[in-house]
Symmetry: C2
Amino acid sequence: MNSLALTLHPFAALPDDAAPKRPRGRPRKTEEERDDGNRRAELLAAAARLFRRQGFDATSTRDIAAAVGMHSGSPFYHFKSKDALLYAVMEEGMHTAIARQRAALASDTSPEPDPRVQLRRLIRSHFDTLHGPGNDFIPVMLYEQRSLSSRQRSTIAQLQADYEAPWTPVLEALHASGQLLAPVKLSRLLILGALNWSVQWFDRKKGASLDELTDACLALFLKPC
Amino acid sequence: MNSLALTLHPFAALPDDAAPKRPRGRPRKTEEERDDGNRRAELLAAAARLFRRQGFDATSTRDIAAAVGMHSGSPFYHFKSKDALLYAVMEEGMHTAIARQRAALASDTSPEPDPRVQLRRLIRSHFDTLHGPGNDFIPVMLYEQRSLSSRQRSTIAQLQADYEAPWTPVLEALHASGQLLAPVKLSRLLILGALNWSVQWFDRKKGASLDELTDACLALFLKPC
DNA sequence: CCTACCGATCGGTAGG
DNA sequence: CCTACCGATCGGTAGG
């Protein structure tokens, strides 16, 4: 969306014989891809990864720059501030999460969808968002809200509300049919909490699969009926 | 436990007439309590509060010092490092949480306790630990593990294992009687996750009470049976 | 526990 | 996007 046309200033010949003070090449990408303008996306992905691993405050903009082979000041060419980078990570994460969820629900083409399979789809899609390969954006959003300004925070909160909206009618249908006994609103909060907390303990490489996890959730939250 | 006997160096008369360079009294407690040696406990409580509100990295040791009326270097008289302060907060939080849980379970004196009321006690005690007035220690432990050294982290992990141990037999009994359908281990992880996440949304001052929350959990996780 | 500091790091910027 | 830099803040310490 925000692809910027870059005007490059290629190095002209050095004016005199002064020793070139270039920093000893820690940065500099391996040239596998020309800088075609998606450097911004690379920065976002690197920031998401580092913010998730180390936390926002513990990650310096220099860390992020180094991760994509830039020098320390360069991220500020793409993002106005470190905060703006964090916000962009969260916003991007929410947009893809919402799109994934929408697609999961839309795959149900039956005229009267079974709320039980609807809930399964919602949960499974949520686990994909949390644990899919490279999906660091949403965990960052879940755990770093504190570092946003209040304006940014309320925008993100709105996106979260949009994301959670489809859960309510599904839970209401389950409640009406006796498969869910707890109040719908508290159920939604508790269920999403159980899922979100899996970020703390779930390991894709060992133990249960995401499908098994989803099964366990349905067995835990719903009555047989 | 770690009460230190303090040897104070009361100010002797100033040797000459040089203007006393005392900082303009931002710090300095209101003398309501003499410094009787529990300054360490005050530091811990202030640190827990600030770490919870702002996060560990976003809280400076100067913030903590100011919160208890000390000067910037003084916390290091009580704690070797900022890390040690964080670790002490978590350790203290876990000890009181374990004690609270033990007391809650011990209040059941029946020879064959009903696992359903046992689970209720565990959940209710956990909510007290998370949301009781001034209980900032455990939320800090839950959300700031990243900032611990690996040695510290594994000690805390052991305390968490001790804390969670009593949940397993209770959940097993419920599973055996058909009141819990999901696998016991995943159930424990998901249930504790649902509870822990309430730190993000529960507000003691409005909405449901802790008792209503506990009821909702039982209704959500257990089958009628 | 205060005083006075130090070295390191960090977000951010001007100027090309 | 690099270069060279600044001001601010921070954890921590010596010495009393």
